[in-house]
Symmetry: C2
Subunit: 506 residues, 2 copies
Amino acid sequence: MELKVQPIDIHVGKYKVILNSIDAKELGVYEGDRVRVTGHITVTAIVDFTDDLIPPGMIGLYHEIKEDLKREWTEIVKVEPAEKPRSARIIRKIMDRNKLEQDEIHELVKDIVEENLSEIEIAAFLASSYINDMTDDETEWLTRAMIDTGEKLEFNSSPIMDKHSIGGVPGNKISLLIVPIVAANGLLIPKTSSRAITGAAGTADLMEVLAPVEFSSAEVKEMTEKVGGVLVWGGATNIAPADDKLIKVEYPLSIDPHCQMLASIMAKKGAVGATHVVMDIPTGPGTKIKNIHEGRKLSRDLINLGERLGMNVDCALTYGASPVGRTVGPALEVREALKVLETMEGPNSLIEKSTVLAGMLLEMGGAASPGQGQELALETLRNGKALAKMKEIIEVQGGDPNVSYKDIQPGEFTADLVSPATGYVIEFRNKRIVQIARVAGAPNDKGAGVLIHKKHGEVVKKGEPILTIYADKEKKLEDALKNAQRDLPIVVEGMLLEKVPSIREI
Amino acid sequence: MELKVQPIDIHVGKYKVILNSIDAKELGVYEGDRVRVTGHITVTAIVDFTDDLIPPGMIGLYHEIKEDLKREWTEIVKVEPAEKPRSARIIRKIMDRNKLEQDEIHELVKDIVEENLSEIEIAAFLASSYINDMTDDETEWLTRAMIDTGEKLEFNSSPIMDKHSIGGVPGNKISLLIVPIVAANGLLIPKTSSRAITGAAGTADLMEVLAPVEFSSAEVKEMTEKVGGVLVWGGATNIAPADDKLIKVEYPLSIDPHCQMLASIMAKKGAVGATHVVMDIPTGPGTKIKNIHEGRKLSRDLINLGERLGMNVDCALTYGASPVGRTVGPALEVREALKVLETMEGPNSLIEKSTVLAGMLLEMGGAASPGQGQELALETLRNGKALAKMKEIIEVQGGDPNVSYKDIQPGEFTADLVSPATGYVIEFRNKRIVQIARVAGAPNDKGAGVLIHKKHGEVVKKGEPILTIYADKEKKLEDALKNAQRDLPIVVEGMLLEKVPSIREI
C-alpha cells in the first residue's frame, strides 16, 4: 500500500507510525503489529491507529522515526505488514522458562536499544526476568550485551577507578568528595552518574549546580585524561544505552529485577573501562537493601559478576537508615560538600563515609598501602589537594572554578518544621524526607530541598525546628510544608515511651 | 499547575494526556506516571511527553479522555501528579507470587476496563499470569470480575443455551448451523461471537455477510426473546469488556495465559446468562490443543469452572487437523453453510460436526432425549425448520431473509494452485491456508478466501487444482498466489514414500 507521509511530533520513545483504521484493516494489521515502511530506505515500525487525525491514504510518523528518516523521506512511502522481530520470540522463550543463548540475549538487548520492541514486549521481558531471574551465565551475557550495544571508553593506561552507590539513602553526595580525592592521587576516575528519578537529587543533578554535565563519550575520555576525573551525566553519553530504556519500563512497574540491577550497574562500569570498582551498598530500613544478609548476598553477586567481566569489585555495606550529612536537594547538598572540601568542616557522616570509600579506591589502585587508604583520603582533604582537583574538574566541564560554598544559594522561600514535643528523635523516615524535598521542587528546582537539624538519637525541645524546607517557588514551599505537617518525617518521643503501672487499677 | 486544553485525535485505548517536557519536569512526573486533571470533573490519566507538539502551558487530551470529557471541558484545567492506582500494587503482588483476594482481582479488572492501567502494567499482569497461572479460586474470581464489570443479559426464562469454539481450525462455520437448529427447537441461544484477529474469519465476520452484527446488550436480549437466537459480534456489546482489552496486550505477546483463557470464555457465557454450554475443542497438530490429553485437561478445567459459576458445561474434543468443510474466508464459508441449510448438500465434516454439537445442546436443554440429539438436529435441517429459523434470525438482525446461497458471491479474482505430483494429500497445513486467505484479503475483504478441492487422504493427479484462491482485489490475489506457491499448504506424495533396498550396494 502506498501512503503519503505526515510527521507528528509526539515522543513515543519508539519507531512508531500511525495509520487510519481503514488502511490498517486493509493491510490486515492489528494493535502492536509492525509494518515495513519503504522510502529511500526501509524501516520497521510499530503501528498505532486513528479514525480522524490521519486520513486514509496517509501515514503519520512519530517523532523518533521522523527524526531518523529526516533526510531520507519521500513524499510517498510503501507500507506493508512486517513480521515480529526474532527477539519477540525470545521474550516468549523467557516466559516459558527456557534458558537463553548468548546470541539471543545480544539480539534482545540490541532490539531494545534500537527501539524495535514495544513497551508491552519490554514489560513482559522485565516481568519474566523479575519472576524467573537469570542464571549467572545469562546475567554475564546480559551485561556484555549492554556494554557492546553502546559506546565504550578505551583508556591507554590502567588502572581505571570507579564507584557506584546502590541508592536508597537521601543526601548521598559522597561522589563530590570521592572523585576529586581519588583523582588528586593520580588515579583516573571517569565517573558517570544518573539524575534522580524517584530521589531528591542524583549525583548528576548535584554536579549540574557547579558545571555542565552533558558530554559525549569522547569528551568524557578526553577530560578524564586531562584532569584525572569527571562527574558527568551518564544519560548524555551513549554508554550502556539499554539501561535507560529498561528503566523507562521498570519505573512504572516499580520493579528492579535482580539480574537487571546487576547487569545495569556492571555494564556502566564495564563500558567506561573500569578495572577497579567500589560499591556503596546502603543497608537498613528504608533503603533498597533491608539487612546485612541481603547486603552480603548482593556483594557476592557483584563481585562474582565482576570476576566474570575481569573487574576487581570491592563492596562496602554502609549505614543507610538516616541521610548522609544534613542536607537533601541539589543546591543544599552541593553547598555542604563544597564546604567540606574548602574547610574540612561538615557532618561527620559525610566526611567519614566519603573518606572510607575513597580510601578503598586508593588502596585498590595502589595509591595507598593496605590499611592506609582512609588516612590518605583525609590528608588529601586537609592539604587542599582535593579542593584544587575539584576546581580543575569544574573548570574542565565548563563551570566556574572560583566558586565557593558561600556562593551556592538554596531556595529563597523557607519554612521550619518544628518539634511537637520535647524528647529524642526515635525514628527518621528517609522516604518522607525525599517526598517533602520533591514536593518542594527537587531535583528540577535546584534550590529546593530539606535541611535537617535533628537526626536519629538527637535531643530536641518542643517548638525547636527539626528541619527547614527550601523552595524556589512560594507555592511549592506551601505544598511541601503541608505535606510535611500531614505526616511528620521524624518521630520524637521522650525517653519514657509508656508507663506500665505495677498495680493495675480495677 | 493550570494548563490550557488541546484535543488530539489519536486513539491510544487509554485515558492519556500529553504534556510539554518542561511542564512535566516542573510537575515532577516521569514516563508512565499519572496526573489528576480537574475541570468540571476530575479524572486521572497517564502522561506522555512532547517537546514541540504541545507548547508549555497546554495539555493535550487524547481521543478517549477527550470523548469522555467532551461535555465537561473547561478551557483551563488543573493538573497535579497522582498516585498509581491500587491495582498497580496488586500487579506487583502477582509478580511476587502472592495469592490475591477476591476484591483485589475485582479492582484490577475494574481498572483494566476503565482504562486506568497502562499497557506496561497490563503486560506485566499477563506475563505474570502466564508464568505463575492462578489458583481455581483466583480464576473463578477473575471470571466473576469480568462478568460484573460489564453488562449482563437477564432472561426471565431458562434454560439459556450457548456454544463456544476454542478456535484454531479454519473454516469452522458451524455456529451458522448450530444456532438456527437449537433455536428452531424452542431453546434460547443468544450467541455472541468474535471477529478474526489472526484467523481468516470469525463467526461475526461470517454473519456480517448476511446481516448487521453490531447490537447493544438490550437489543441482543430483545432479539433472542423474539426469534430464539442471534449471531452477533460480542465486541459491539458491553459484555465482559475486559476481555477485548486483555486481548490487545496478549496478541502482541503471542500468549494466552491458561487462567485468562478459561476466564475469558466463561465470562462471556456467564454474562449472557447461559445455563448450558457446549464447548467445541478442536484437537490435533496445528490447533491450540495439541493432543487428546491436553483436550481432556482443558475440558475438566472448563467443567470445573462452570460448576463454580452455576453453569452446565459439556465439552466435545473435535478433529482439528483439517478445515471444517471445504471453504475458508467470509463469503465462501457463508455460501457453504447456507447451502447445507437450503439443500442438505455439503461436506460431511461440516454437517457431522454441526449436528453432533447441536445435538448435545438439544439434549442438555431437554429438547431431545438422551442419545437422540444429533438425530433431532439432522431432522431439523432436513425438514427446513433450521433454514426458516435462520431466515428469522437474519431478518431480526436487519438482513435480507430471502437470501439464498446462490446469491453469495466470493471474490471475482481467482487463481488455482495445482498439484505438483500425482499421489495422496499426506499433509494439510491449516496455518498456511489461513495465511493465504489473509494475504488474499480475508477477513476484511468479504469475498477473499480459499476453496479446498483436496483434503487430507484424498487422491490428486499432477496438474489438478488442489485449491482455488479468491480475492476482491487483483493485487491481493497475486500476492496470495505467490505466497501459496512459495510454500505449499498441502503436501502430496505417492503411496510409496521411499525405497529401502534389501541388499545395500557397496
